[in-house]
């Protein structure tokens, strides 16, 4: 299982970014091999419109099966749902904390967009 965490850093100590589509980047964590890699999200971050769609494409290319983030806008939600990527919500401060909560099965699933587009 590959899990995408929204963050501006490239280590597990990095702070979580509460935004999905306009996060600076992602840490894609492979729960089978316990390895991870950092992925840049500059293209979607700078997009005038449709960041959620491009962000979904970016994490899909990395083979992510689910995403752990703070919030998710309407286009991102439609795109992630169509791609079959589950969305888990967290308020964790760091990627490591979010990963721990994910592993413990403590994270709620997001069933619809919880913010408007361009919310932050």
């Amino acid at each position: 299982m590959k899990v995408a965490f929204t963050t501006s850093g490239n280590t597990l100590d990095a702070l979580m970014d509460p935004r999905f589509a306009r996060a600076a980047g992602y840490i894609i964590y492979d729960t089978v091999t316990d390895t991870f890699e950092a992925v840049d999200n500059q293209k979607a971050f700078n997009a005038a419109h449709g960041a959620g769609i491009q962000a979904t494409e970016a994490i899909m290319r990395q083979g992510a099966n689910c995403v752990v983030t703070g919030h998710c806008g309407p286009k991102a939600f439609r795109a992630l749902s169509a791609a079959g990527i589950h969305i888990y919500q967290t308020q964790a401060q760091t990627v490591a904390e979010a990963l721990e909560a994910y592993r413990a099965g403590a994270l709620p699933t997001l069933k619809s967009a919880d913010v408007d587009g361009h919310w932050s």
Partner: protein, 282 residues
């Protein structure tokens, strides 16, 4: 002849110049309000509405029974308005620029176009001036297709004045492209100069003859004038910073009607436009 009235900076007096120029040219002239996000020429030329047409852009509709989720459409669309995640594509009409490319690249002919409303074009007759005005629907992010809808109603046999939106981005380019002459309206302030430079660069890129109107003479400094002199840009008209002009504007009156002493200024502007557009043609 097609004359566009543009500016870098907003609020410099594009509409003031456009409506008064239209009045000076008189009967038979067309005034196209291409500032479709905030059209305001009708506040000065009220007249009688003669028509209202809905403008649509083509957006894709996918026939799920034909689609095999190959993803070609999504790879083609640079605006991510249609995207396939290994499934029947998702369409985001608000991102679609209506190019029709997805339909052409679809190997299974599973995509057809359907019209999505983006706004209306209203036409009015006001004392011999034909006003053609675009109104973008609330929430629609793309002005250029509606601006093209406004310009499609232009009668090339008659003189047309195009009141452009402010700035130097796509809606402005959609407006001024194809014009015979561009009037750039600015004010003699650092902001006016900064945005005038951008506008000049844009018009030079489009290779259209242009000149400058300096509005609110008396405020600011002389840097706009120095810039025009250095760059060899013709100064078409100077309008003074006259409170009575602002008062007439606030009442929805034309300057040349409320303050007839300004009639000669706008007549001179028209002569200058004719001279400088002709000079470049030779």
């Amino acid at each position: 002849m097609i004359i566009s009235v543009a500016s870098g900076k907003g609020g410099t007096g594009k509409t003031t110049v456009s409506v008064n120029l239209a009045r000076i040219i008189g009967r038979g002239v067309q005034l196209l309000d291409c500032d479709v996000e905030e059209p305001n020429a009708h506040l000065f030329l009220r007249g009688r509405e003669t028509g209202c047409d809905i403008v649509t852009i083509p957006v894709p509709e996918v026939d799920e029974s034909l689609c095999d989720a190959c993803g070609e459409c999504g790879r083609f669309c640079r605006y991510h308005a249609i995207v396939s995640f290994g499934s029947t594509p998702l369409v985001f009409p608000e991102l679609c620029h209506g190019c029709g490319g997805c339909m052409l690249v679809c190997p299974r002919k599973a995509i057809r176009e359907t019209g999505q409303r983006i706004g209306v074009v209203e036409t009015r007759e006001a004392d011999g001036i034909s006003l053609i005005q675009g109104k973008l629907d609330i929430g629609v992010p793309m002005a250029p297709p509606l601006i093209r809808g406004v310009k499609a109603r232009l009668d090339k046999k008659r003189t047309a004045i195009l009141d452009a939106p402010p700035g130097t981005s796509c809606p402005v380019i959609a407006t001024v492209r194809g014009s015979d002459f561009v009037v750039l309206v600015t004010e003699p302030t650092p902001f006016g100069l900064h945005d005038l430079r951008l506008a000049v660069d844009m018009i030079r890129e489009l290779s259209i003859p242009f000149g400058v109107v300096v509005n609110r003479m008396g405020v600011g400094d002389d840097r706009v004038h120095r810039f025009c002199r250095e760059k060899d840009i013709p100064l078409l008209l100077e309008l003074s910073d006259d409170r009575r002009i602002a008062e007439a504007y606030s009442r929805g009156e034309l300057v040349v009607d409320a303050l007839p002493e300004y009639t000669s200024n706008f007549a001179t502007l028209l002569l200058n436009i004719r001279e400088y557009s002709g000079a470049r043609e030779k």
